[in-house]
Symmetry: C2
Subunit: 236 residues, 2 copies
């Protein structure tokens, strides 16, 4: 295993493979080949074999992958066999929506605290899990007490770097950032930014291109822009 060289794109794909395998398992299927997996979920079979190849030998010739075994292996590789405790900084619309969103509470991530600097919000409880809202000044103490290892930044862009500095100082090393701002993290800390504005604006850019109006279906000769787009979204 040469873990040092694994790119984020590879681990992103492992995450997708795991969800595909979960669906197959839920349907009672026991084995699957890379070919079948690719066909059923719009993936690339050579890519699947290459990505898994970084971590060991998983397939059995003539049979493919044993779904239960591969799920267990991927779960371990992605560190999903250990629970993570999440703190959300910013108890505004986005922060509370995220606290309520099942996608977060599902699997091994549980939201245990929200933080805000609005005195009207501090002391409140959010959602059906009644997650407490703490004073943002107490991040260091609550991170320690609640053993928070993942922080979600859901504050306005202008406050994001300050909040990141606070959570890094509190010892948090993995941060999911929703603020539309490029942030500077120190070494050994991973910041993953989910930027909804940029995503929307890239769609706006696409719609503003002359070729997006020209291509109305997939039957004609594809415009070069359309080809790029197709490639973009299938590579994931």
């Amino acid at each position: 295993m040469k873990r040092e060289k694994i790119s984020e794109l590879t681990t992103n794909r492992l995450s997708v493979y795991l969800r595909c395998l979960n669906e197959l398992a839920a349907a009672g299927i026991k084995t699957v080949s890379s070919q079948e997996l690719a066909e059923q979920f719009n993936l690339n079979s050579a890519q699947i074999r290459k990505d898994l190849g970084y971590f060991g030998e998983f397939g059995v010739r003539g049979t493919g992958y044993y779904i239960e075994d591969l799920r267990a292996d991927l779960t371990k590789i992605l560190g999903l066999d250990k629970p993570h405790r999440v703190g959300i900084i910013g108890a505004g619309r986005l922060g509370t929506a995220l606290a309520n969103y099942n996608g977060l509470s599902k699997s091994n991530f549980s939201v245990v605290a929200l933080f805000d600097n609005d005195p009207n919000k501090v002391g409140e409880h959010v959602g059906h899990d009644r997650i407490p809202v703490f004073d943002a000044k107490k991040i260091a103490k609550v991170v320690r007490d609640e053993q928070i290892d993942v922080a979600v930044i859901a504050v306005p862009a202008r406050a994001a770097q300050r909040v990141l500095n606070q959570v890094m100082a509190a010892g948090v090393k993995a941060i999911l950032n929703f603020a539309p701002a490029p942030l500077k993290a120190r070494l050994g800390v991973k910041v993953r930014t989910v930027d909804l504005t940029t995503s929307l604006e890239s769609l706006s850019y696409f719609l503003a291109q002359p070729s997006s109006a020209l291509v109305t279906n997939g039957n004609g000769v594809p415009a070069s822009r359309a080809e790029i787009t197709q490639a973009d979204q299938t590579t994931l």
Copy 2:
């Protein structure tokens, strides 16, 4: 202008530059050099000059960029001078949170419709803008009536491809997908996926690496994993 060759990473960065310029303009600043812009917002000045260079000559030697002019140019390049009408498919937690989220309603995107197949939700109105929830069967008609040009998919993974097919059939060419599923779009349609699960799982992977535990501050000799991470997040 060689628009055909502009990558999504470039347009993503233009989107970030625009927001940085908006902040400077709000602070009453009139001109900025690529160097100053880079320093203030953790960007790369050579990259800024290169990205803008695809679209024309914007800087003035000795002065830098005129902020108002560059904002207007970037707004136009990104197609943000035209309004977009957004339909959200899925009126569950995520869909309604997105309908309420100001990030979406800000700028030139306005959410005009939600869709769901739950009869208890159809006919309801969501949020303070009282956005109507339509029957998912009526997507084609509502897209036409409401001139929807951007669709947001906020349904479970298993329903996502079917919903994408529906909105493509209705003529929508730009789709923001929140379902954790790789989707197949036809040529001339752009799908941008925002996958919260994958983002969280990549943080989990990072925390599971031995080196993430070793590097506790930026003063020691950096582990190679930490170096990769730093590079990851500053390239945006």
